[in-house]
């Protein structure tokens, strides 16, 4: 199971993004500045953005799902129960996972953005997608929910998960780091060796590396272990 990009170029006005590389099974983290092209790459990987040149090959991928930054875009149901059903999931456990038990009859658009984000992510993660693309999944979530999402994502046993985020504190255990800079996607490699040349690394990671304490991964537990290492 993999997604391969060969000589891919996406253009929007004067701006362009070039991408090359292979996303295999596991969890990938893509970082980059605002406006660098993270959302465009997310759409491109999901097959929703027409690249101007190159090829995007998907091998062994039967189901693809993308979570947009704004959860409102995903809503189709008039209430929470029917929204869950529209995703093909059982409402009761999913609403419980999203912390929305007993609110089945509420209009999804009346939820706060954080609550709606929780609901949409819970619906998505309740199903097993081969390719799961998450565009800024941590935005609008509080620390507890971010950590809970990290635990869920770290527990994904199969498929390709690609996370596009600015998040600096709460991150799941990941397999590979990618960066977008100067209109180009770069593969920084697998962890922990990728950490040394990760330009957008959180300050705490940079600090630990500077002190010679290279964390095994970037989850809170890994960072804590590295920090406490003697």
């Amino acid at each position: 199971m993999k997604v391969s990009l060969a000589g891919v170029r996406a253009v929007r006005g004067d701006w362009s993004l070039s991408a090359e590389g292979t996303f295999g099974e596991g969890i990938h983290l893509v970082s980059g500045d605002v406006g660098s092209g993270k959302s465009t790459l997310a759409l491109l990987l999901a097959g929703l953005f027409p690249q101007i040149s190159g090829t995007v090959e998907r091998e062994g991928i039967a189901t693809t799902m993308i979570a947009f930054q704004f959860p409102e875009f995903h809503v189709t149901g008039p209430d929470l129960e029917r929204e869950c059903m529209a995703w093909g999931v059982d409402p009761a456990p999913v609403l419980a996972a999203a912390g929305l038990t007993g609110r089945m009859e509420e209009d999804p658009l009346n939820l706060s953005r954080g609550e709606l984000k929780r609901l949409i992510l819970a619906c998505m993660l309740a199903r097993d997608h081969d390719l799961l693309i998450l565009d800024e999944p941590f935005s609008s979530l509080d620390c507890t929910e971010k950590e809970r999402l990290c635990t869920t994502l770290s527990g994904r046993k199969r498929g390709i998960t690609i996370i596009f985020t600015h998040e600096q504190t709460h991150l799941p255990r990941i397999n590979r780091i990618w960066e977008i800079a100067g209109g180009m996607l770069s593969d920084r490699g697998q962890l922990p060796s990728a950490l040394g040349h990760w330009d957008h690394a959180p300050a705490v990671v940079k600090n630990l590396i500077a002190r010679g304490k290279i964390p095994a991964n970037i989850s809170q537990a890994d960072l804590l272990e590295a920090a406490c290492r003697t």
Binding site: I66, F70, H74, A86, L109
Partner: protein, 217 residues
């Protein structure tokens, strides 16, 4: 048309003429064909075709139930075409210029700014709609009338939320009313010809054909 004053004036006048009668709609349609670069309008504003189909559908229902649907359909189609021509010619800031020129730096500035915000909101709604469609597609929802309602709710909800946030931000930054602005306009020869033609066609549309020929003889 580069000059927003002429474009807005022509659009308002022609829309009224088209709404007034089928003859008016036919005359305005001829103007649209000659002066609006029709192919560019349809290419840039792809929603025109679905909008006309929708009008056609309601026109058909109206014709079946009470009559007058055919006339309604023709007149509204021409108004939509004029609206599309007006919309694709929009350049950022020109409604602010128009409002300030027309009604001054108090109420004119406010109205112009509201129109500018409306246009920005429309652009955002177009990009939001594209995301909503993509999300619906991935969710396995079939395209159709049933999905127009949730998409419409999301768009309206989003637009209201953005308007609310913008209003709060402006209030926090001390905005009360009016503002200082010196509008500038560019008027080409073609603008004047198209504007004059719109005026003539509008007048012809408002005067009954029989009276026009009596005056002529």
């Amino acid at each position: 048309m580069q000059d927003i004053r002429l474009r807005a004036g022509a659009a308002a006048f022609l829309s009224l003429a088209a709404f007034g009668s089928i003859t008016g709609a036919a005359i305005v349609f001829i103007w649209w064909l000659v002066f609006s670069h029709p192919l560019t309008v349809v290419k840039k504003m792809r929603m025109v075709i679905p909008a006309i189909i929708l009008i056609g559908f309601f026109g058909f229902i109206l014709e079946l139930t009470g009559g007058g649907g055919f006339s309604y359909c023709l007149r509204m189609t021409v108004i939509v075409l004029i609206g599309a021509w007006m919309y694709i010619g929009y350049r950022e800031g020109e409604f602010l210029s128009l409002g300030t020129w027309l009604l001054g730096k108090e109420i004119g500035f406010d109205l112009g700014m509201i129109a500018e915000m409306g246009m920005q909101s429309l652009e955002l709604m177009v990009s939001d709609l594209s995301r909503i469609r993509q999300a619906q597609e991935l969710k396995g929802t079939r395209r159709g009338l049933r999905n127009i309602v949730p998409a419409g709710s999301i768009l309206i909800h989003g637009a209201l939320r953005r308007a609310d946030e913008t209003a709060e931000l402006m209030a926090v930054r001390g905005y009360t009313h009016g503002g200082s602005y010196c509008p500038k306009f560019q008027t080409s020869g073609r603008d004047l010809i198209a504007g004059l033609a719109a005026l003539c066609m509008g007048i012809i549309a408002f005067i009954p054909v029989s009276e026009f020929f009596i005056l002529y003889h």
